[in-house]
Point group: C2
Chain length 392, copies 2
């Protein structure tokens, strides 16, 4: 008995964390399904068949608890100190969310965290019904590789995630085209691998013969030159608008050469693409359109050209559109997309730019993602479409 | 003017997240340094030269805010609603921590999150002074690759992270030995790549010629057979003790064959090692000692053999130690380690097992990590030592 007690104590210490992590298994299951974005074993948040979501959190000593998912919902406490709310039906797609404890936004312990909102944030993926293009399927799978490199421009260690297609380590005589794919503002290089499901989307496209096997490089959309004036470094907006040259330099002088050295790439412009979402879309248009000797495919998802109202399109990007005929011949694809449920100003900005290109006779493909907002479902759909058009 | 206003509004929407993420740049800096585990740009938590830590959080409407880092510290609110505390000096190493808002443990928005404590948790890395073996240095760098595979035993998609040494993609005729390296309870396969700094440790060892170039496979230490009785699946402790056979099966029948297929491994037992920390150490001893035809090197960091008090060592692991002479010849290395500052019960458990092996004449290497607790600095040191002894 004494032995068993000692043993049991030992086990308690060693596996306390483990047990804690699976404690939720014992709660009663109700209708609906745990979100795929929950940590392993967590039963809440649950998604109901009509896309309403039930959130729960234990907080006996809190006075006010809310769930913030597109709008704020007051949660209600039961006798055991557990707060709960069922939301309105939530639009399909991936949403960052917070719980609020006495006014402080917090991550939900039941959720995985994702770098978004400029910090680690909870996320919930409301599945798109009737599709499986971004799900794990029984097809050959590529890898996502973390590559570290030192940037002499920013004087810092950076990392890129690189998707390599199935067979990359077997077909050793094959060289591959490359898509550089950028995250949005408040996100980082983990966005496309985690929220974006980039590997499943490409694995599935390649298995169906819809996309060419390619590398996808997901790097960081921030670059600060420590030698730049202090003001340039400290303001977020200024950094975005004026700091672009640093980011362009990092891409052209450091990231592309690093990738061409570490991987079996095809290095001519006809086999290099760049795209990004939101802020990453603006960056992609900026970087590619000022470096057309390096890129032949250009994409912007919910963000494309940055057009100051009243600007003449022929003056943009060092005059790349002064000779539209030359441009149309040189560039294989200009792609832009927007969700129809995005905030009006954002929709208008992309839609207007599309109309300006049309007016100017600049060939491009414009896609509206039905019913989706400024979030990852818009961007998964866009990538699914864009990737299938590359390098053909 | 109107144009600029429209533009400014547009920018505000598009880059709101971005600006938010860098807002902290504007606060006054005090003494000490931001922790390396902070999100990019976050000035708090700050580590003072004597290893005291300053935590801060804005929570104007909270009644009670605490920081929980080895012990709980009450935080104090200033006139602007910001709570702050300076802790006692913290022991060197990596520590999970929580902030408490009215009694609810939360992640600190200024910290990166790590899967530990059975959930995403904040972490703070108090640097070990005077060493750089786990830091990024100007040496050739390997990659960490995410490999997805379907497990027929657990009927689920799993993933492994695989460290490939520098030159793996260049020296295409070379084959490599493999170390299987397991996380602890409440953690997962992201532990060694993130908290463990596995890539920097190996990059540095290999650059100095102290370790052979090798692959390191970091998989998930949980495996549930959905056909097992329901009780086995629902209790954490039971799953650990009885579910081991499922995990062993997944390793032997699925993980090792997957790695041997996807990578240029050397597949004999003399070129395969397994080690783990805490729970992962027990798993490693269980899996290797019942499969000595597959492994020649065995490691347990803060967790090794699982010895029921009163057990005869010759009865353990299917009698692997009935003939000690045969065992000592067959196994190239048995390694175990423990931090001297670990909880007494944990220290005793590993130290006693070491003494039992010694008594029985079973060759092994026993290392005590001076001054470190049950955390990642103990395990980084152990890996640094263990990896240098492998495959020689």
């Amino acid at each position: 008995m004494r032995t068993m007690k000692k043993l049991s104590l030992l086990i308690s210490v060693l596996f306390a964390f483990y047990v804690f992590s699976h404690a939720q298994n014992n709660i009663n299951k109700t209708e609906g399904e745990p979100a795929s974005t929950n940590i392993s074993g967590a039963e809440y948040p649950r998604i109901l068949p009509d896309n309403r979501v039930i959130f729960r959190i234990k907080a006996p000593d809190a006075q006010k608890v809310q769930a913030d998912l597109l709008k704020k919902y007051d949660m209600v406490k039961d006798a055991t100190g557990v707060w709960e709310v069922t939301t309105d039906p939530i639009v399909e797609g991936f949403h960052y969310y917070s719980l609020f404890i006495n006014g402080v936004p917090i991550c939900d312990h039941s959720s995985q965290t994702f770098y978004g909102m400029g910090r680690m944030a909870s996320g919930i993926d409301i599945p798109e019904k009737g599709v499986d293009y971004y799900l794990a399927k029984n097809v050959p799978h590529g890898q996502i590789r973390q590559v570290r490199y030192y940037s002499n421009i920013t004087k810092s260690w950076r990392r890129a995630f690189v998707y390599t297609p199935p067979g990359y380590d077997i077909k050793l005589n094959e060289r591959y085209p490359v898509l550089y794919l950028q995250h949005g503002g408040g996100e980082d290089e983990t966005g496309w691998p985690n929220q974006g499901k980039v590997d499943f989307i490409l694995d599935n496209l390649i298995a169906e013969g819809k996309a060419k096997p390619m590398l996808i490089v997901m790097d960081r959309g921030y670059a600060v030159d420590p030698n730049a004036p202090k003001n340039d470094r400290e303001s977020g907006i200024r950094r975005m608008l004026q700091g672009n040259q640093t980011l362009t330099d990092v891409f052209i002088k450091e990231i592309i050469p690093t990738i061409d050295k570490e991987f079996r790439t095809i290095t001519d412009r006809e086999h290099r693409a760049m795209a990004g979402l939101s802020m990453g879309g603006f960056q992609s248009f900026q970087i590619t359109l000022t470096n057309l000797d390096k890129f032949a495919y250009i994409g912007g998802f919910s963000g494309a050209g940055f057009m100051m109202p009243g600007t003449d399109i022929k003056e943009m990007y060092n005059g790349v559109w002064t000779d539209v005929e030359v441009f149309n011949k040189k560039v294989k694809l200009v792609y832009m997309s927007i969700g129809t449920a995005e905030p009006e100003r954002m929709y208008q900005s992309v839609n207007n730019f599309h109309k300006e290109l049309e007016k100017a006779g600049i060939k491009h493909l414009y896609y509206e993602s039905p019913g989706t907002s400024h979030e990852w479902l818009t961007w998964r759909r866009s990538l699914n479409q864009f990737a299938s058009l590359l390098f053909k």
